[in-house]
Amino acid sequence: MRIVVVGASLAGLRAAQALRSAGHAGELFVVGDEQRLPYTRPPLSKELLAGAHTVEQCDFPCDELDVTWRLGAAAAALDRDAKAVVLADGERIAYDRLIVATGCRARTWTGPGAELAGLHTLRDIDDTLALRRELEAGSRKVAVVGAGFVGAEVAATARGLGLDVTLIDVAPHPLLPLGPLLGERCAQLHRDRGVELKLATGVKGFRGKGAQGGAAGARGPAGGSAAAAAGAASATADGAPAAATPGAADAGSGARPTADRVAAVVLDDGSEVAADVVVVALGALPNTEWLAGSGLTLDPGLVCDATLTSVDDPDVLCAGDATSWPHPLADGATIRVEHWTNAAEQGAAAARNALAPAAERTPYAAAPYFWSDQYDVKIQAVGLPGRAERIELLEESPEGDRLVAVGVRDGKVIAAVAFNAVRRLAWYRRQLADPPSFEQVAAAVAADDRALGAPSGVGR
């Protein structure tokens, strides 16, 4: 039997490893669109960006893995009639079982200013190295658009490097899925360390140095208002290189001679935030377009049953960020999870199921776990905080530096979030196997003398 894994990041790697350790002795292909062997991505917004880790430290050990790699090879289509994956260069790889692990890509900015040099997204190692080069080359003002996990981490890292950082989001607080209470705690972390926050603030576009009388104008204070907005719009005509824009010639030195360089973020009220470098962190999109003609149901994740098997084809399974599958914590609604641990665990789970007949496959129902490191705070969460109707603070240390909160939906606890409190989080995590009522959890915590802030009671 030949198994083909499409996607050579964490989910694909763990799938391949699990196939071999479960005894799959047949052919095993792993296809990846990047040239690199699998590497871990969490350091990309933190240690690698800060220069504290090398690229090699991000590599997963996979020398001993017996697979046929097809790297630098994007999957272009799936021919289910012939049971073959079609690569961008036309190569066809036949499969008996297919594991889709194509993950997500960064959502890019397509509005005014999209063509400007100095705009970055962050998803792979090359993205991080490109951003790092600019930060090391003397960029002083960093604007981060999007205060989700990647944006907030990049802001923290850039601030840690001593740069001036502005963090912008249209939402009223960072880390939207964690709700306003914890989002405001996160906002305060950034304010305390000197990051400027512009929340509930939309972005109209980006203005290049050439768009308003050259670099001198770009370095001026914010507040260009309508004229700046008009400048941002004119700089984008057809996405053409801004060399066509009057005044852009002075941007002609350096690595990208034809592109004007970003000077400012134009906010929706027309005011500006000066920026030498912009990081666009607007979330991620699943890489499933290559499946569009396959007849498989996409939402846009690949829609699977509880066993990570496509609802349309028992020979196609899915793992990682691109997987939509029904989860008990969501009352059986399909969810997609874009976190490291989910990719690792689903890769292995999909592999085990791929080796089993359809009727003997086992559901994957682990409560999602994710974390975010910002400054000296480790934020950890289990369950589905983004589906919670409300977030309730249940524990807090007297110093206020450690806390645990729970996410409640329909009276049940479906998530827990901890700031610097991993040991406490473990208890909550066990409860999620059979979601208890909020009252049960609150009472248990109130009676637990190991809870943060005990014995004075719960910190609400």
Binding site: T40, T341, Y369, D373, K378, V422, R423, A426
Partner: protein
Amino acid sequence: MKVHVDMNLCQAHGECVFAAPDVFELHDDDSLTWVEEVGEDRRAAVEQAAQVCPMMAIRLEG
């Protein structure tokens, strides 16, 4: 089988404790301790712990 944890890498995610609760233990100060020599019957759980460690801090020998 020997279990090694690189404490320079460990950031107390606690994933290993979930994968193999009888091998790894987190304490109230968020420090980690673990059983250094485990039997063959724990192999699957400890391998799982190594695979879900976000810091790749767990190494198995033998």
